[in-house]
Amino acid sequence: MAEGTHVPIRKYLVVWLWLFILSALAYFIDVVHVPQPWKPILLVVVALMKAGMIMAVFMHLGYERLSLIYAVVAPLLFLVVMTIAFLPEGGAILGSHALVAP
């Protein structure tokens, strides 16, 4: 077994730069008041891009065996299921309050 995963330093620096750019972009999306349906979509896309870069390069997941990648990513899909299951439920509760309110 090789001692570890060797990622070229250049690649680290490129990802580092991108993380700064995307963080600044997320901040500006908030500051310039992007209209409603687009703001959360853009923010989630930027966050997922940052997460993907950190996991693939900084955490070397892109250099690991496919079995390890599956073992890590598959359980996280559960969070997508939870989001889809619970956020509309929250909306339904808000709706039921509106019916009761005078």
């Binding site: 963080s23 390890l68 073992a71 559960f78 939870m82």
Partner: protein
């Protein structure tokens, strides 16, 4: 016959010792921890989202976390600085790992120390943020900015994350001490630095989502 059995036994042993992930058990265990911790943070964030959607109103984080400079209110400035610090620390951590694989002891310790200092600065900013909000009356059950749940989730999410950063600093201090003392040279492997790096990058990864979901939404 006896040699055939011995060969088979050895082959079997080699086969069972081989990791299906082609990674050391130390690394696999860190990944197991990270997945579990990610699900914990994810559940907290989903619960926050559920609560926020079901209440319908929320505090305006851009206003709550603004800094006043020269009489002007700059929205979320402290959070932007904290994000900048944490992303910087992820970069220095990556450089520490890269230097560890070149067995450059001095530079590994240097970059680990830089990472720790940036981590402590982050926690320092958080202490400032907490004391600022607490001074204005924010409690887990009440706050002057919005529904009471805003305070509850603020303390839970940022507190849980801040504790992770603080634990990470202690973890890195232990690893840096081992590098400096030559413990890893004697072991013949610097993989411990890479595994510590996994934890540190994970803490940065969590911040990406707290920053997005709690502060920017």
């Amino acid at each position: 016959m006896a040699t055939a059995v011995a060969n088979l036994a050895q082959e079997f042993q080699e086969y069972t010792l081989r990791s299906p992930f082609r990674a050391s058990w130390q690394k696999v265990m860190m990944w197991v921890f990270i997945v579990v911790d990610a699900l914990t943070f994810g559940s907290l964030l989903v619960s926050y989202g559920f609560t926020r959607v079901s209440i319908g109103t929320w505090a305006n984080p851009a206003h709550v976390f603004a800094l006043h400079i020269g009489g002007k209110e700059i929205p979320l400035l402290l959070i932007a600085i904290m994000t900048f610090i944490l992303v910087s620390s992820s970069g220095t951590m990556a450089l520490a790992v890269a230097n560890a694989y070149e067995r450059n002891k001095k530079r590994t310790v240097l970059f680990l120390t830089l990472t720790m200092l940036l981590g402590l600065t982050f926690v320092g900013c958080q202490v400032y943020e907490w004391s600022h909000l607490i001074a204005h009356g924010t409690r887990p059950w009440w706050n002057p900015y919005g529904p009471p749940q805003f305070g509850a989730y603020f303390f839970t999410l940022t507190g849980f994350h801040g504790l992770h950063v603080l634990s990470g600093v202690i973890y890195l201090a232990i690893v840096a001490r081992m590098v400096a003392r030559g413990t890893l040279d004697r072991r013949g492997s610097y993989q411990l630095v890479e595994i510590a790096g996994l934890y540190w990058h994970f803490v940065d990864l969590i911040w990406v989502f707290i920053f997005t979901m709690f502060y920017l939404f």
